[in-house]
Amino acid sequence: MTGLSRRDFLKLSAILPAALAASHLTPGLLQPPRPNVILILFDAMSARNLSLYGYPRPTTPNLQRFAQRATVFHNHHSAGNFTVPGTASLLTGLYPWTHRAINMAGLMKRSLTPHNLFHTTSSAYHRFAFSQNLWANHIFNQFNQDLDTILPPDSFAAFSQVIGKALPNDLNAAYRSTDDFLFQDDDPPASLLLGLSERLAYQRSLAHLQQQANDYPLGLPATGLLPIAFRLDHLFQGLAQTLPALPTPFIAYCHLWSVHEPYRPHRDFFDRFKNDNFSPIEKPRHPLGGKNPPQKVANRRKLYDEYIASADHYFGLLLDALQNTGLLDTSYLIVTADHGECFERGTLRHITPLLFEPLVHIPLLISAPGQRQRVDVHTPTNSIDLLPTLAALTGNPIPDWAEGSPLPTLGGSPDPQRVTFSVEAKSNSSFERLRKVSVAMYKGPYKLTYYTSSDYNFFELYNLETDPEELNNLIDSQPALAKDLQNELLRHLQQANAGYA
C-alpha cells in the first residue's frame, strides 16, 4: 500500500476550496431532493365503511390497490367528530380543547394560528391548500400568512355561486359575511332582496345542470355549506392536472367534500349494493343518539357506501395519473379523513355528541416516495400525529408545542402506554371552559368515553380488541380499571380547562 504522495496532497489541496465553494453554490446537487407531500382528505369518510379495513361491502378496491404500496394505519382516530375540530387538529397537531376550533364554522384560538402544518414546513416548500368544505376553508384561511396558494372552494366545480372568493384580501370575513350569512343555506338569507335573487338564479342554473347530468341519478354531488355542484371526474382530473404543475418541493392539502352528504353516487355505483344481503350488526339506541328507524338508517348507509365506491373509483384514476407523472416517486401521498359517519344506534351522519368508532375511526394511508411494499400499523394513532410526522419527513424540527407524536414507522415508535383523545364540544363557547363535552380516551386496547353536561354525566368503557363494535360496556364489570382510566381522563380534561372561566 502506498501513502499519499506530496504531489497528490498538493492536488487535493488545490481542489478542496473549489469543492467547498461548489457545495455552497449548488446545495441541491449534494443534498437529496426534498419530498413533496400530497394530502388527500375525504370528508366524513369512516374507516368502518371501507373494505380496506374489512368492511364486507367492496367499497374501496382502489384504496386497497394503493395500500399495496403504502403504510396502512388500522387504528387511526380523528381528534374530533366533525369537520371543524377534525381538520383543525390535523392541521395544528393540537387537540380540540387546545386549539379551540370546536364549534360549527368555528375558528382556532387566534394566538395559536402560527401553530400549523404550513408554518412548520420550511419556506423552501410551496404550500398549497384547497378545500371544498367552507368550514375547513375558515381554518386554513387563518393560516394564509403561511400559504402560497389557496384555491377557491369552487375550483373544478360544474357550477357554483360562491361570493366570498371575490374578496381575496379578507377571505374569512368575506365567506362568513356573504356565503355564511347574507346568502346562507339552511336558514333564510340575511339579505332580503339580493338573497331572493341569488336563490332563484341558483335554482334555475342548478335545474338546468341537473337535466344534463343524467350519469348522477340523485343529482350532481354538491357541497352542503356552499352553492357548489361538481362532478367527481372533473374534481379528480383537476387535481391530477394541478398537482404536477405545482413548484417543487410542495406540500398540498386537498380537502374534498366527498364522501360527506348529500350522498350522490355515480350511475355506475348507484344501487350497486341493493339486495346484497349485507346486514350490519344491530346495536341498541343510545340515550344521546338519534331515533331514526332501522330501515332509514340502512338506506342511508347503502347510499353512503355507494358514494364511497364512486369516490374510490375516481381516486384510482388520480392515483394512476400521479403514477404516470412520476409524482409518486418523489412524493409522500397521504389519504385520510377529518371524521367519520354514523349509521347505527338510530343515529345518522355525524352531528351528534356521540363518539362511537364509526364517527372517529378514520382511514390513514401514507405512501413514501417510491414505496412498493405494504406496511401495516395496528397501534393507536391520532390525527394530531400528522403534523409532527410531516415536520420530520420534510426535514424540519418537530415543534415543542405539538401534542402528537411522529407516526410509527415514519419517525416514531409504538408506545403501548400512550393516551390519545377524541373530543366533541360544539355546544361550548370556545372562549370558556368546556362544560358540555364528550371525550373518548384511547389507551392500549381500551376506550373510555365520558359524556357530560348539566343534564347527564356518565362513562362508557370498551375493549376495542375483543369488542370492536362497542357492544359490551365494561364500566361496571371492571371497576378498578374503569376508575383508573376515569381519573386519568378527568385529569386531562381539567388541564385542558385550566385558564378558562
Binding site: D170, A174, S177, S191, L192, L193, A207
Partner: protein, 178 residues
C-alpha cells in the same frame, strides 16, 4: 313638460326609501341576532362587527335598488296613477312586495328546495293584491294620510341606517384594499 317633473321630489323619495330600508335592514338585523349567540361562541367582537359591516353595506345597496322600482313606475305611468301620490303608493308597493319576499325566503330556507312552485302559484295573487293596495293607498284619503305620515316618520331611521352603512362600506373597502 321636463323630464325632471316626471320624477318625484326628494322628500317623497326619501320617505319611500325609508319604508323600504326599514324592511331590508330589519330583516338583516333579525338574522344577525339569530346568528349572534353562535357567533359569540367563536368570534370576537371585531369579527362580529366586521360581518355586520358587510351586511350593512349590502343593505345600503339593496335599499337603493328597491326604491328604484317606485321611481321607475312614477316615471312611466301616468302622473295621476302614481306620481301624484308617490309617497303613499310607493311605500305601499315596497312594503307589500318586501313582505312577500320575506315570506318566500322564510318558507324556503334550503337553497336546493325551489320556491319556484310557490312563486308561480302565489305571485300572481300577490301582485293583484299589491296593485289593489297601491290603488287604495292613493284613493282613500285616510289611508293615504296614514301611510304618508308613517313614511315621513320612518325618515328618522335613515339618520341611523345611512351613516352606519357608509362607515361599514368604508370598513369593507379598507379591509379589502389593505
Amino acid at each position: 313638460m321636463s323630464i325632471k317633473s316626471r320624477f318625484p321630489k326628494l322628500p317623497q323619495i326619501l320617505a319611500v326609501y325609508a319604508v323600504g330600508a326599514i324592511f331590508i335592514y330589519t330583516w338583516t338585523m333579525l338574522w344577525f341576532f339569530w346568528k349572534l349567540p353562535s357567533w359569540l361562541f367563536y368570534l370576537n367582537l371585531g369579527e362580529i362587527f366586521t360581518s355586520l359591516a358587510y351586511a350593512l353595506t349590502v343593505n345600503l345597496f339593496e335599499s337603493v335598488l328597491a326604491v328604484l322600482l317606485p321611481i321607475l313606475l312614477a316615471f312611466v305611468l301616468p302622473r295621476k296613477w302614481f306620481l301624484e301620490t308617490f309617497t303613499a303608493r310607493g311605500a305601499t308597493l315596497l312594503a307589500s312586495l318586501l313582505t312577500y319576499t320575506a315570506y318566500v325566503l322564510y318558507r324556503f330556507p334550503v337553497k336546493e328546495e325551489p320556491p319556484l312552485h310557490l312563486m308561480t302559484t302565489r305571485t300572481p295573487q300577490v301582485l293583484i293584491a299589491t296593485a289593489l293596495l297601491v290603488f287604495l293607498a292613493g284613493r282613500l284619503p285616510f289611508l293615504r294620510k296614514l301611510i304618508e305620515s308613517l313614511a315621513d316618520r320612518a325618515i328618522v331611521l335613515l339618520y341611523l341606517f345611512i351613516p352606519a352603512s357608509l362607515i361599514s362600506a368604508l370598513v369593507v373597502l379598507i379591509r379589502n384594499i389593505l
